[in-house]
Subunit: 448 residues, 2 copies
């Protein structure tokens, strides 16, 4: 009795047409990372448990997958290794380990899968791609790098063409300064900012009452008023913040940073319509200390942020005494792709790898077909040859299903006339071309 | 006290310059797979243990890495999942699972990492890339596909340019026919072919005595004489085999197949110098039933075969009742890359992602630098901007170490003269170009 072939729950395994579309998405992301000079790295899928789990306890550890060899399992050892759950911890380990061989500021991109033992439910993946960039400075990292990040985001999502999108930027120092100016003590900042992050996902009244519970109702109202003023009007928000100007260092520094990042990002060619200062973007994690980013598809706000990140004060404190500040973003490509497929925003029906299928019209002409395929490939045209001596109808059905735009048909009649018949599969029409001109003509048809 | 940052043993983690070279190798392999119309698939890194380990016992199972979530580990459950140890079992599971949605013959490529709990020793990796192609037929698969495989291998290793190489082909049916003709019974075939596989790695006398131990000395001598005749002369070997012609079906079928694959491969443009019939290639695994392939770098025979594979009778018998014959090959990219690095056959010193580094000559001109970077990127030129207000010497050192060929220097003097200074970092010379002509001139310099 055969074993039922199936994947574990919580993974996204694609059929070829979808895999091609997904691969193009990753290729576009990579191409844009490289356009900004980011360097590729890859880290092992597993890390030593001791190295991966430096923080004891916490939510993350509960979701880790541990890895054990057969021998170690039999001996009942505790697992020495675990699968990475993000690309940030491996980056920290990588930079600390190879510190003296890297060129700082170190600009790296990394496109790999990560693993989380999530509960099985729709939209939650246990294996998914992350596409990350980070710039890591040694001791310090100038603010100019914070402006580059939204320019990369803009390049990627313009080319991916999933519709209009907006990159929101904010600054955590500015937020802290605002909280201070309202009399909120530092010990409350993390909790309040955690609630602020719910704005846009939850009704204002609800968020307001949650914040009020942490301080008082007038302060909560005042805070949300400030955070939502001039929404969609970045210049207006900056002017209002300047006018507000409380006398605390965090606020002042944060405002200068935010303004400079905004102006530099525009100088990098990001259009004002795609970039907005949004004071209610907080990024819950205390990890971020300055600029923060989120990105939304304008027509699909419910997807949430499709690309987020920010500036942090120190990447690798667990592994090295060097101070390594950085700024970066991450795209959760698997989740995004699955959502876009569901919204019908990914076309997969006419995608194929092969551009030409050479059909096996007469078995006696087999080596002729191989010569044709070989000439097309030499011209960089992806070509396959139908190998079986099947009826032409079956062959044509294969070519149609393959999604390739052109089928080549050569029988002895065409051969004698020094001609080749091309079937344009998507238009369902045929053209005869001279044998000597075949490669050039196919090149033209594909280029058209 | 910080944790010592380190990777587990048996993985290959690369510095950026090597990672770029490795990535180019994978890109070349992928490009050639696509040129032949192979379709991409990716499977999850882990499979259900029950699905992955269908054969009980065996060497493979001893090397498997099991995966467990924190919860399952705490409860002392046996692991439900394990990391894939090759791409063949996941392919079999994939094809059986998605059988009715695939277009047969199904041509897939897959470039992913696999995991084996090898003992730690040089050249043995616990995590390594495999780059596989397979063509899978339903019920049957014509021999024509066997000729395509060496054409793909030839395309890849010509472009990778690691030096001259030879693709060896043979046929397991022919080998079995030869054994039969020498009076060796079927029960001995596997053991004898296992020894035959050692020819070339071990002295002939040694192999001969090992085979003699399985039958008798004269038969062993006769067998090895036959297998090594006309070495390096494919046409001669074919003629001798035809003359030998014992009256058994395996030999006859195998000979016809071998000859046809040889002739068709040449018709696909593979030069005779790079393709050799080699009767002593046996591929130990009983999995292969017809054509078999191995590939050697002529100047580095000690590396062993760098790309191997063959024809098999049925891919997915464990998962489906459908008969799915196939033919395929695999390149162990990680091991190969590590060996080539050691032999100094991979140049990594002048590799970079960024083609241009725009230096920060005067902080007041910052937005000018961003405009230049943005214009270069729009022309498809990978560009980074040096963000810190460091001394020019430090900036120049960064640019040099980055490996980028060009640095852009623009101070107020150049700005006033509508000029830009380019430093060609690899030639250590400078040129002044008109500001208006900057992108075109850099494009030309990079193209040169």
């Amino acid at each position: 009795m055969p074993v039922q072939p199936r994947t574990p729950q919580g993974v996204l395994e694609l059929l070829p047409a979808q895999q091609i579309a997904f691969q193009r998405m990753l290729d576009t992301i990579r191409r844009n990372f490289e356009l900004f000079g980011f360097l590729p790295i890859e880290t092992p899928v597993f890390e030593l448990t001791e190295v991966l789990l430096t923080k004891t306890g916490g939510e993350t550890e509960k979701q880790v997958y541990f890895v054990q060899s057969t021998g170690s399992l039999k001996q009942g050892d505790t697992p020495e290794m675990a699968l990475r759950f993000d690309l940030t911890v491996p980056l920290a380990r990588y930079v600390a380990q190879h510190e003296h061989q890297l060129n700082f500021p170190f600009r790296r991109y990394q496109i790999q899968r990560v693993y989380r033992g999530e509960r099985a439910q729709k939209g939650r993946f246990r294996e998914f791609y992350q596409c990350d960039i980070d710039v890591i400075g040694k001791d310090s990292l100038p603010l100019g790098y914070d402006a580059e990040v939204p320019a990369v985001i803009h390049g990627i999502f313009s080319q991916l063409a999933f519709g209009p999108f907006t990159i929101y930027i904010n600054n955590r120092k500015l937020l802290r300064g605002l909280l201070e100016s309202l009399g909120l003590t530092v010990d409350k900042h993390a909790d309040v900012l955690h609630e602020v992050d719910r704005l846009g996902k939850m009704e204002r009244a609800e968020v307001e009452s949650r914040i009020a519970a942490l301080c008082d109702a007038p302060t909560a109202t005042r805070l949300i008023d400030l955070l939502t003023m001039h929404k969609g009007d970045s210049r207006g928000a900056l002017a209002a913040l300047r006018a507000f100007e409380p006398a605390n260092a965090n606020f002042k520094e944060g405002l200068v940073e935010l303004e400079q990042v905004y102006v530099h990002t525009l100088a990098l060619g990001v259009p004002p319509a795609a970039l907005q200062i949004n004071l209610s973007i907080a990024r819950g994690l205390d990890y971020y200390t300055g600029t923060v980013y989120e990105t939304f598809l304008d027509d699909h706000p419910k997807l949430g942020s499709i690309c987020s990140g920010g500036r942090y004060a120190d990447l690798a404190g667990h592994y090295t005494k060097s101070k390594l500040p950085g700024v970066g973003i991450s795209i959760g490509a698997t989740r995004l792709f699955a959502q876009l497929i569901e919204l019908n925003l990914i076309a997969t029906d006419t995608r194929s790898i092969a551009q030409v299928v050479v059909l096996n019209v007469e078995a006696a002409l087999a080596s002729e077909y191989l010569h044709i395929a070989s000439a097309l490939r030499a011209a960089g045209i992806n070509t396959e040859v139908y190998g079986a001596d099947d009826k032409l109808g079956k062959q044509m059905k294969y070519a149609d299903r393959s999604g390739a735009p052109i089928a080549v048909l050569l029988g002895s009649r065409e051969r004698d006339a020094q001609q080749v018949k091309l079937k344009l599969l998507r238009e369902n029409r045929e053209v005869d071309v001279p044998r000597a001109d075949l490669v050039a003509q196919i090149g033209q048809l594909l280029g058209a």
